[in-house]
Subunit: 362 residues, 2 copies
């Protein structure tokens, strides 16, 4: 087991990363009150809910659960309200704990509920997907979608502890494993060329679900994100680097309708578009661009999106949250393994990068 | 005009208190982005919305408005969502400002929306009732009600500036003016015997709506609250003193149904009950108790609540948020003008204090 600390002053918290973690022992110091609400979904509950209930009962805690329907389309205000209903119907008070047991959707909703219930209660995260282990479990972004935009409503809420158990990835569908690898590749591309080389060597193991390799990839990814978040908790600057591929990706997700493509899949194509634009700007070489595409393909991820009319694609991009005063800021690669936040790019090249990475007729 | 600063480090903000404030001039430094969403209600909008829209337009801002229905019963998740709908339908982004123009309900809802929209945008408060000027405009507590409890869902969100204009109180119904005086009396009772004497001398002016006297009372009240909040932003300790009368008051409000009695009216009777219990405990004299009742009556506030079965009253009290691990903590007066947070009181005396201040047969 490895332990990583996210350094956020008095909200500093550890991430425990390993296989078959001793949850009962590790949970103990992080729950002061007696009441624990486990928020999970109907896919994860049959697999892991009982394990956590048992561990908590052995710690003399009173548990209750809120089992939501699985899927991004349920990440809305109505389902958020089901968590509040459960907390209040169970008579939970302000010294309770909300434990998120599931992927990014569960983490985002449970985290926002923990941030808002009684104006803030203790929050523990048990991410059960690779994506949520490397992405949403670090940094405290929580929230829900609105019909007019993704993650439009939420809070910054840091957990008191995160458990990333590789053993739980054994039940993850291969497509979701790949979607998680997409975000892992992102960390290499945005700031760690050495990690990219490591991934190129270890991708076969990662795709095969090797727990030791996965733990190492999760550790390195979380360490990257933790360093960036510690410098810029509320995304005033550097933290925006984590959106590499995301403005393009959000457009793909929005056009296709949330849930059609996985977030990681859309981000994969988004990273290819960002790399292609960086190449067209003369910042990365043909070989660099080929390396980006290759590592993404090694992870069984798409490098093309379906055909999307350019004007619609651009319209979705400009609805992205990262747009300030109408100006699109993109995360591009000044060189491979070194991303920057910039508004200084050629718009025609941007359009070309989008069009070059669509598969016509699909 | 007087200016009071709420000292909260990098979230320090000013409260401007006066009559006929020069809004356009004063607002300017507190709005960086171009977009301002005015959240108000259908009572306040016809009176003051145009004034604020004009001032903002003159500052070259783009304004939009969200006009909610007036009343505590609309302080729920459905109406909160109307604010998000308005923000997104207007294409507002993360550098927008949410301006609350109204009483406590509007401030609480607009503040929670500002805390949650895009995980936090700029927030400005223009409290238009006496209660909200002295209570909800200081301290950053925002939120909504849930069918199972009041203010159960929310956030701590500090405004960047507050405008308390006494002139706006001229349109306030007398009953609401009295409800605001209830919270003003609270500050005197919990920690300022000299202010109590001032109130006893000035209550006739206050009840008559004298703007100069009101401004002084608002300034003193906000200064009290600001000092307490600066010491204890997240209510770990001292801030709970502000709940003097509130645990009793919440029981009255809950039993009668929110909106039947005004919050300040319920708190008034709650303060009498707290004073009576303090007297039964031997902490304050018969004369002190009489002074408490007298100042409350001077403000045209009730000192009795309708008859409520004791077991129901106690049950509502124990549902109050300030109950930790099943123990009721009350704010009682160790002496007049000096309140404490305590679990150490005689439960039979508490019951007696409740029963003594009910009007039988009502």
């Amino acid at each position: 087991m490895q332990t990583l600390h996210v350094e956020l002053g008095d909200r500093r918290y550890p991430i425990f990363i390993g296989s078959h973690l001793d949850i009962q022992h590790l949970l103990k110091p992080y729950i002061q009150g007696k009441q624990v609400m486990i928020v999970t979904n109907d896919t994860v509950a049959p697999l892991y809910l009982e394990t956590y209930k048992k561990a908590l009962t052995a710690l003399d805690k009173v548990t209750a659960q809120c089992i939501l329907r699985d899927g991004e389309k349920f990440k809305n205000i109505e389902n958020l309200n089901l968590i509040f209903d459960a907390l209040l119907a169970s008579g939970f008070n302000r010294d309770c704990t909300v434990l998120a047991l599931g992927g990014g959707v569960i983490g985002d909703m449970a985290g926002f509920a923990a941030a808002s219930f009684q104006r803030g209660v203790n929050f523990i995260q048990v991410p059960t997907t690779l994506l949520s282990q490397v992405d949403s479990s670090v940094g405290g972004k929580t929230g829900i979608n609105h019909p007019l935009g993704k993650n439009m409503i939420g809070a910054f809420k840091q957990p008191s502890v995160v458990f990333a158990d590789m053993n739980q990835l054994s039940t993850l569908p291969p497509r979701e494993l790949s979607a998680g690898l997409s975000e892992i590749i992102k960390y290499a591309l945005l700031g760690d060329i050495e990690f990219l080389a490591w991934l190129e060597g270890n991708m076969p193991k990662l795709v095969a679900g090797d727990e030791q390799a996965l733990a190492e990839a999760v550790y390195r990814s979380c360490a990257h994100k933790a360093r960036i978040v510690a410098n810029d908790e509320h995304e005033k600057g550097e933290r925006a680097l984590l959106n590499l591929g995301h403005t393009f990706g959000h457009a793909i997700e929005s056009y296709l309708g949330y849930g059609t493509w996985l977030h990681g899949e859309a981000v994969a194509v988004g990273m290819v578009m960002a790399a292609e634009l960086s190449h067209l700007m003369g910042w990365i070489s043909t070989e660099d661009l080929a390396r980006v595409k290759h590592i993404i393909q090694q992870a069984n991820l798409p490098i093309y999106c379906p055909e999307i009319p350019l004007d619609e694609f651009l319209s979705y991009m400009s609805h992205d949250k990262k747009v300030l005063d109408g100006k699109i800021r993109l995360i591009l690669m000044k060189k491979l393994g070194h991303a920057v936040i910039t508004e200084e790019f050629n718009v025609d090249y941007m359009k070309q990068a989008i069009l070059n990475n669509q598969k016509k007729g699909e």
